[in-house]
Symmetry: C2
Subunit: 249 residues, 2 copies
DNA sequence: ATGCCATACTTGGTCCAACAAATAAGGGCC
DNA sequence: GGCCCTTATTTGTTGGACCAAGTATGGCAT
């Protein structure tokens, strides 16, 4: 067996150590997924009707519906009334939503998430400085500029997140980016809190600009210092009754 | 509104911009979750029977069952015949499973995941060196020792992962740890591939031991060098037809 | 022939009734 | 008292029914 063949081995296989005792619903979920694979269906393609699926797989319609609810929870299908179930691209969104469940926000998780961001965003400095093109850094400027033109707290928080997302994107690592995006709801909420108490858009913009300049001058030390300070800034206000507000990330 | 109050604001609220057209199933999912919160139910507590839930929330049993399937997919409840639905601690597992089949493994993702690990595991060196107690580092030795006593490929891969998991745990960041654990299926598969071609348990053990020693001597540079080399080692074999195997992480 | 509209059909949403299977609980037997 | 068996309850699964809302069809007017 070659490396490649082994790498392509299914990950799902090892997650099924119990071959017996599989419910009809679980069986249907797998059968539908298999059908999607076999027929090479893509996003937007429609599945057979619930009644057809029931007949094809020898199951009642209610059982089919329970399976479809599972697939819907997974973000694999989206079912529109009177139209049918169509393959969906909401999978990542479903993962994000599910992940956010367990991360209910609190002062503790505020600090925790900021600590995570510091590790990640500081850790990618080297790679960005070595590999980012001038066009990449100009793009950061563009994204950063959007923070100034939006006035609402929600809009500003979204733009703020997009800047940091663009930064992480420059690390060129899909896994890291996917993990970072998982935290989007939590991070955005943190940013909203910081921006709600008083307008800090201009401050945020300027700090971001300094960070970009450090990257443009390929100054590792300055980047690490600036990003760490930027992300640590709000921590001093958390866990207190102060309403001075935290400067968001 | 104080900082704390804002931080505790629900994250779920902003994810519902569509107030109209909510199905009975979705409504039930929320109602059950709300019931769990209000009654302060904890892991292991049982929910009312399907019929009772249907009567309480004015819904048919099939509708209740569809909602329970969703909650089951989320890993929030586990339902056993006759005993009913009980609150489950499989939520993280559900997230992991869901996250995994978006990350189908390939040589590209192999490199990508290793790159992610390098960023993370190198980035936490400073914190570990500054904050880890001698007991923490002794614990790493213990975990590392388990690699030698297990012979099977699967067992060895699991132990290998547990060492790196313990390392990440020492970073003292819950968010980071949760994200790292999300990749467990992928990482373990990578390790299995590395260990399947030839036995490298002893090599892995020794490299790990060197890493621990670097931490014990609080040597940042040595740690960063060792962990980077350790995680990059396998990359040179990936994407080729070579069967020499990759030394796993 | 073409475009519009009303009707019938299709399809998901919800609920009910029924039966099978599994299991916890209680009674009976030793 | 402890073990086994019966029983009752609950989930698992199916089929059917009805509703509401889209979709398709066919007729009608121009």
């Amino acid at each position: 067996m070659t490396m490649d063949a082994m790498l392509f081995a299914s990950l799902a296989a090892d997650a099924a150590p119990e071959p017996a005792k599989v419910s009809a619903v679980d069986r249907l979920v797998e059968q539908v997924r298999e059908m999607v694979r076999e027929r090479g269906l893509v996003i937007g393609d429609a599945l057979p009707t619930e009644r057809d699926l029931g007949e094809q797989f020898q199951a009642g319609r209610n059982t089919v519906r329970e399976a479809l609810q599972v697939l819907k929870a997974y973000g694999i299908v989206e079912v529109r009334p009177k139209v049918g179930a169509v393959l969906s691209d909401r999978h990542e969104e479903a993962v994000r939503k599910l992940f956010a469940f367990q991360n209910d926000i609190s002062p503790a998780s505020f600090m925790d998430v900021q600590g995570y961001r510091r590790i990640v965003e500081a850790g990618i400095g080297d790679h960005i400085i070595l590999h980012a093109t001038p066009a990449d850094l100009d793009h950061l400027d563009e994204v950063n500029a959007r923070i100034l033109v939006n006035q609402g707290v929600d809009e500003a928080a979204r733009c703020d997140f997009e800047f940091h997302e663009a930064l992480v994107t420059l690390a060129g690592n899909r896994t890291l980016l996917a993990n970072y995006r998982l935290l989007q709801p939590v991070i955005t909420q943190i940013m909203r809190v910081g921006k709600a108490t008083r307008p800090v858009q201009i401050d945020t913009f300027e700090v971001h600009a300094q960070i970009i300049n450090a990257l443009k001058s390929r100054d590792r030390v300055a980047y690490t210092y600036l990003i760490s300070r930027h992300l640590e800034y709000g921590l001093q206000f958390v866990g207190t009754e102060s309403d001075r507000g935290a400067r968001s990330g």
